[in-house]
Amino acid sequence: METEIASISKELLQRSINAEKLRYCYGCGTCTASCPVAKVVPENFNPRGLLQKIFFDLNKTLTEDELWLCAWCYTCYERCPQELKTTEIFLLTRNLAVEKGYFPKQPTALIKLILRSGRTLEVTPARDRKRAALGLREIGETVSEKALREIKIITEKSSTWRVRE
């Protein structure tokens, strides 16, 4: 069952990326022109270039940090004249990178935190007390037992998360 889901996932990804009509891109630059990240760190991120790299040199691109700099704002997605689903393409490509074994440091640490606590930010006992002082419900260091268990079960079958461990 596990192997089945893992291999289906890969096929789904490949199909999804091909289905997203990458080759329709004619490099107009609307995405980079609209990108908040490219605006402030142009040397590190260029969505137009990244898209072309995914098309021309997928294997090398999977190893690069640039893939993880998209902030997921959907501005390029809204404006692309060829309706390329840029934001989703980057997401799918990240999946491929992780499957190949490239785990970016900080996101991986956050995934571990999610597995431990069900959240992307820590609620320390001190913070929980602060909540109580403000009249907010105390929520504990992790989400409910049941929820945490369910997260574990759901993620168990994922090849990528297991490999990382």
Binding site: C73, V143, A147
Partner: protein
């Protein structure tokens, strides 16, 4: 008003930035809207992080929250636009992509769940605009904030992409401006009003953090050029970025913008006559006192 919602606070209001939840709860209480806590919610499992590792598993984790919500007969109210966007995206994908839905349901079956998709996803701002309405809000305003120039910062996932959510026009949104006007304040036109704070991407490493800082400076410049007295945000991530941005900038250059950042519920709450402390405004890192003095 007989409105009830399942509250989906999100990680930032829960763990890091409490004024958002304090403010929202106070305002909805004043408007007679009931927010129910739901114990089994987890992080919304954002696509840019969790789905980036595994598309299908990530979607299953997000959908799990819907299954939890569907146990009650209520819609979901999020405090964070990232949660709003992420949940809306999941809802759309699950309702339109039979292939994905099947795979997600396979995973959910292992925990005895299956995706129903009954509950709608809303955000505090969409509830105020759509479910309560401008006219109704106007009736509740007791203190006009006339003379305050507020720069709205919509937040990416409140308005984009149209494919997943349809609250307002992505190119030229107007609804937050209208909501600001309800309080009597002036909503100013500034170039970054529909921009991005890179909150969602900021935890991806040093470059991302640097990008987030530079962008918050750009947003602050934009608000300052338009002679705004404050920035109004709809998302605790944006709140953090634009506040922390000012502090980090000060550390780097010695200059402090000193532009108060307010949740929209703060602005509304003040116009409803609620005391700033009750809205959690004393928790803000950029002191809003000079602004509050003017309102008195």
């Amino acid at each position: 008003m007989n409105l009830e919602y399942s509250l989906f606070p999100g990680c930032v209001p829960s763990a890091r930035e409490f004024s958002c939840e304090v403010s929202a709860r106070k305002v909805f209480e004043a408007l007679d809207v009931e927010l129910h806590d739901v114990g089994d919610f987890t992080c919304c499992m954002p696509a840019c992080l969790v789905h980036s590792f595994d598309y299908v598993t990530g979607l299953a984790l997000t959908s799990r929250n819907f299954c939890v919500a569907d146990e009650f007969n209520r819609d979901i109210l999020t405090l964070c636009v990232s949660c709003y966007g992420n949940l809306s995206r999941a809802k759309k994908l699950m309702s339109e992509n039979g292939d994905l839905r099947r795979r997600v349901d396979e995973l959910l079956a292992a925990v005895g769940k299956s995706y129903g998709g009954k509950a709608s996803v809303k955000h505090s701002v969409t509830v105020l605009y759509e479910d309560i309405g401008i006219e109704s809000l106007k009736k509740n305003v007791t203190k006009t904030l006339k003379g305050i120039r507020a720069a709205p910062f919509y937040g990416c996932h409140l308005i984009r992409p149209r494919e997943y959510l349809s609250f307002d026009d992505p190119a030229f949104p107007v609804k937050l401006d209208e909501l600001i006007k309800v309080t009597g304040a002036t909503s100013v036109m500034h170039r970054e009003r529909a921009g991005c704070c890179i909150g969602c991407g900021s935890f991806f490493g040093e470059v991302a953090e640097e990008a987030a800082l530079r962008l918050s400076v750009d947003i602050l410049d934009s608000a300052r050029e338009a002679e705004a007295d404050c920035v109004i945000v709809t998302c605790p991530y944006c709140f953090l970025q634009i506040e922390m941005g000012q502090l980090l900038f000060k550390r780097r250059t010695g200059e402090l913008y000193n532009l108060p950042v307010l949740h929209y519920t703060d602005l509304l709450g003040l116009s409803l006559g609620i005391e700033p402390k009750e809205l959690g405004m004393d928790l803000h890192k950029i002191d809003p006192t000079p602004l509050l003095e003017r309102i008195k």
